[in-house]
């Protein structure tokens, strides 16, 4: 691999790493929030009953 | 409770811990057997039978000490926890630092027994002067250093699902300075070089640091 190849690989890994982690976190937060909303609804309904 | 009383109780706790260690000697004998087996394994793996032994022996000895020592101290609070002794100690007016120091001292004494025995055996196996006062000093300082940290880490039994592997994974990266300093000091001592002092200094520094921080942190762990 040429010098430019290593430079490209380095930057690619860095940016890919950033984006991947960002996406993972956003998905996780969204999942957690939807589970929390669901449980809060269930609890609210139970309290009303 | 004042200091003289704490010291007195500490002495009694140490006595109790040593008596328990004697009753529980299977654990310590197993650690000793592990150390011997590991040493033999390294002998075969690195072909330590030849005269090039001196270069590799310090590293071999210290990795054996660290592995067997950490596995042995992993069981430190097991008996106390199972029999409610730890709970009783927690609600007593005995200072947590006293409990910790008594336990650690007991571990250090037991480990030094195993290590000195291993050094004697290694002296015969490899025809190297491993039982010198300087080397015994290095081993003692190093043992205090790693036992202090591993006793603290064994204080909380988190390792239900990991088969006892969590403790070495936690302890060993922290012990890199101790390992480097011990191996270099041992190596310099074996080669009878002048460079022993700086490494013994670094080793002592790390031991003082690890003992101090473990003693200070133990009360917070309860």
């Amino acid at each position: 691999m040429s010098e430019i190849g290593f430079l490209f690989a380095g930057f690619a890994v860095f940016w890919a790493g950033m984006f991947t982690y960002l996406v993972i976190l956003q998905v996780k937060i969204r999942n957690l929030q939807s589970q929390i909303d669901l449980l809060e609804n269930i609890i609210e309904n139970h309290d009303e009953v | 409770m004042n200091l003289p009383t704490q010291l007195q109780i500490g002495g009694k706790l140490l006595n109790a811990n040593l008596k328990q260690a004697w009753r529980d000697k299977t654990n310590w004998i197993t650690a000793g057997m592990f150390a011997v087996t590991a040493l033999l394994l390294y002998s075969f793996a690195f072909n330590l039978t030849t005269g090039l032994v001196r270069n590799l022996l310090p590293g071999v000895i210290w990795t054996v000490f660290l592995f067997s020592g950490i596995f042995a101290t992993g069981q430190s609070f097991q008996h106390d926890r199972q029999n409610g002794i730890l709970d009783a100690l927690k609600i007593s007016p005995i200072h947590p630092m006293t409990i910790y120091i008594a336990k650690t001292l007991a571990n250090i004494l037991m480990l030094l027994l195993i290590e000195f025995a291993l050094l004697l055996g290694a002296t015969i196996l490899f025809s190297e002067p491993l039982f010198t006062p300087q080397l015994l000093l290095i081993v003692t300082i190093g043992t205090i250093g790693y036992t202090a940290l591993s006793t603290l880490l064994s204080a909380i039994n988190l390792d239900q699902n990991n088969g006892g592997l969590l403790l070495p994974v936690l302890a060993l990266p922290l012990l890199v300075p101790l390992l480097i300093a011990s191996v270099e000091a041992t190596s310099a001592s074996l080669q009878q070089e002048a460079g022993t002092a700086p490494w013994i200094l670094l080793l002592s520094l790390f031991t003082i640091w690890s003992t101090a921080i473990a003693t200070l942190m133990f009360p917070l762990a309860d």
Partner: protein, 237 residues
Amino acid sequence: MNLNNIYELRWKVLPPLAGVAMIGMAALALVTAPTEVIEGDVQRLLYVHLPSALASYFAFSVTAVCSILFLLKRDFKWDSAAQGAAVVGLIFTLLTLITGSLWGKPIWGVYWQWDPRITTTLILFLIFSAYLIARKSSSLDSDKSARFCSIYAIIGFLDIPLIHMSVRWWRTLHPQPIIAKLNPALPDEMLLVTLFSVLAVILVAAWFITLGVETELLSQRLLKLRAIAKTNISEKS
């Protein structure tokens, strides 16, 4: 404006600021910065390698501080914050190691050298991986686990200077044939680009830490709600 108000602004301020800074950093690093005379274009990896290393130290400092705060206040939000920051720290440590290897191969001819800084970075990675493994192996609301791991994080963080010192002494005793400095004295333009890159990446790290902390806090909340829901169901039956 107190600290809480500033913290509330994080979603409005950090993402756009970090985003713009990173785009600026990419342009500066790949285009504007001059080519290094000896190492050539591959030296531009400095602008991601060094900021990643600093971002990881920043993240682990947050972990250590939050761990201290947890031990003092016994509020689980600090434990969550410590864990969130630790994950970010590990990501940046990994990026430091990978970019360092990719920079090292064309310069040194090997992917790894036992250079004190990069060796210490590897041990740092092991320490905080162990921290997360220990913490995640117990329940999120386990007070014992949180206390123990906080202690471990503090000891691990404080151990780093000692590790660096001992590895450096060890390396001077066993020198390697070629020791190339990763960042010799930088000319002004390169220094400016480096400083800007460090700022940009630390902004990103701060953003990721707030996201990570949010994730952990939500996980804690979910655990609590599950417990309440379980109680309600068992009451019903």
